[in-house]
Amino acid sequence: MTLTYKQLLEIKDLTVDFDRFGGKARVLNRVNLAVAKGEKVGVVGETGCGKSVTMKAVMNLLPTRRVTVGGSIFYKGRDLLTLDRFARRQITGKEVVMIFQDPMTSLNPVFTIGQQMEDIIGYNLAGAKRGLRLPKRLRQEAREQAARFLAAVKLADPERILNSYPFQLSGGMRQRVLIALALANQPDLIIADEPGTALDVTTQAQILELMDQLVQERGIALLMITHNLGVVRETTDRVYVMYAGTVVETAATDALFAEPLHPYTKGLLDSVPKLHGQGLSAGIEGSVPDYLQMNPGCRFYPRCPQALPKCEFEPPEPRSISENHMVSCHLIG
């Protein structure tokens, strides 16, 4: 089946509801997001604003009970949400892979790196998603591939790494292992959830640079979730700003940093400490509100310094400012 598609990944009106004690929480409210082939896209926002939930919805990692997912997630023109479990696994985990936030907890402590990589790569090579035993030949092939990619992420002595347990490796090495694992499946899209935030700054910088380079070489699209604006500015082509389960603004990275339009984006950029100027930056008052008691209008209304009366009851629609710049705010236009 060949489908024509413009975007590699296109999320349309994605809505996620969690059944909580005391009511339904709308954790994602009509999120729209797209990644083109080979493009590097950032998603920024505070903790708890729905970045990770969006990515988990793509990866089919949300719990199935008490969670309702609406809208569509198109990958190469096919809606992932309409596919059955097995068809979906041919895509997520193989063509779309995710690098998790914390390298210290992302590897199973009681299996060697080799055992874990063999299983993951081997099952993707096999293509069969059922059955418990990998043929020996595939296991061997998976191991060789694992070693190749460990070398690609500049880990010396891949054989030794394969025979090590996670606790025998440093945080930076584990992060490299996770990147190697993601690359080994030869994906078209990597979703990276705040890569390296758990590491020290210099290691993080090395890791990001390495990842950027490897992704670039292979033409893999990158969707990076982060709250680090510096990282976004350096590595991405386009940015989505999320707040409380909605996309409030999206633009080319340069444009967004040059001319932020949404008050939340402005606040976010203002909160970065600068070398010049006096004192600490202003930041944004308050924190992400309770999803059970969300403002019916603009979700940023309670914290917005420039709120208008109608913001309280009327949700703003996304509006195109220029070709690539969209913003959802009553102040604009």
Partner: protein, 341 residues
């Protein structure tokens, strides 16, 4: 290599614990109120007879000298004569131990083959009717004392249904042609004596099941909760996100790390089983060492008491050593400690 060092450390640790235990039991047996010699000889013995026995047992010596004698005997493996049976305590223990050992091994067998699969299934089928039923069962099983279960089983399966015998280890007609280990089930297997095997099995079924209930309940709970905890951890999400088959994720990547708390519980269980065994042994007239030990305690048979306590302590340490060994095999962080970084 690291693993062997780890085990040696554990073993050395066990010996220290055993030494401590021997000191504690010496002190307790000497400060216990009541005169062991008087208890042994009964109220009609004369003062002289009591004094003679005290002297024979060395109870008239200063505490320090008694301790030296006690320790040197222990090192040689001597416990002295039982004041009740008037036989060497070692003979008494050898006579009573196999029955209890058999009972406890059978009990552990049930705990493992019933508790772990039920706990794992309960975690996999979280919040379903099966899970709720299993959890209800596990709470009930933990709460009801073993001897009560025993009496219930006797009533139901022995008296009303008449499926199983309710006392003893064997039927009156059954003979053990050759004692090898003293564990009838194992002896029967070695001798290929199927009549003996099934008779022994019929007798051990009810007491071992009654004794295992609390353990099964605990193991269900701990296996279920640790599997659910591991399930939410990042590394499980990672293998899931790569599309590794669910069955493999559950039985390899979740069950192996989840097994460690369960094993620890099994080690602790072996100790509490010995305590509970007394009641179950009494209910089922099981000629075991737990019953012997309690009698020794009540009748101030200090030699018998020391023997039983040290034996139980040794059993407990051995059980935990085995548990440590398995945990070491499962968890590289313990096995390779000291090698990291």
């Amino acid at each position: 290599m690291q693993y062997i060092l780890f085990l040696l450390r554990r073993a050395a640790h066990s010996i220290l614990v055993l030494l401590g235990l021997s000191i504690i039991i010496f002190i307790i047996s000497r400060v216990m109120p009541g005169d062991p010699a008087r208890m042994a000889l009964g109220p009609y013995a004369t003062q002289e007879q009591v004094a003679a026995l005290r002297q024979e047992m060395g109870l008239d010596l200063p505490l320090w000298t008694q301790y030296v004698r006690y320790m040197s005997n222990l090192v040689q493996g001597q416990f002295g004569k039982s004041l009740i049976s008037e036989r060497d305590v070692r003979l008494d223990l050898a006579h009573h131990l196999p029955a209890t050992l058999e009972l406890i091994m059978m009990t552990m067998f049930w705990v493992v083959v019933i508790g772990i699969p039920l706990g794992a299934l309960s975690a996999v089928k979280k919040d379903t009717a099966f899970d709720n039923l299993t959890r209800g069962f596990s709470f009930t099983a933990v709460v009801i004392p073993g001897f009560l279960v025993g009496i219930g089983f006797q009533l139901l399966f022995g008296y009303w249904l008449d499926w199983f015998p309710i006392t003893g280890r064997l039927s009156p007609g059954t003979v053990v042609t050759q004692k090898i280990t003293g564990l009838y089930l194992i002896d029967a297997l070695i001798l290929r004596d199927w009549h003996l095997f099934f008779d022994a099995l019929k007798h051990i079924l009810l007491p071992s099941l009654a004794l295992s209930m609390a353990g099964i309940g605990q193991v269900i709970r701990i296996t279920r909760s640790s599997m659910l905890e591991i399930e939410t951890q990042d590394h499980v999400q990672v293998v899931r996100s790569y599309g590794v088959p669910n069955l493999l994720v559950t039985f390899k990547y979740i069950l192996k790390p989840a097994f460690i708390p369960t094993l620890n519980i099994l080690g602790l269980l072996s100790a509490s089983l010995l305590g509970n065994a007394f009641l179950v042994e009494s209910v089922f007239s099981w000629p075991g060492v737990a019953k012997y030990g309690v009698n020794a305690m009540l009748q101030k048979d200090i030699n018998g008491l020391v023997g039983v306590v040290l034996l139980i302590g040794l059993g407990f340490l051995l059980a935990n050593l085995i548990v440590d060994m398995i945990i070491g095999l499962l968890d590289p962080r313990i096995r390779l400690k000291g090698e990291a970084e």
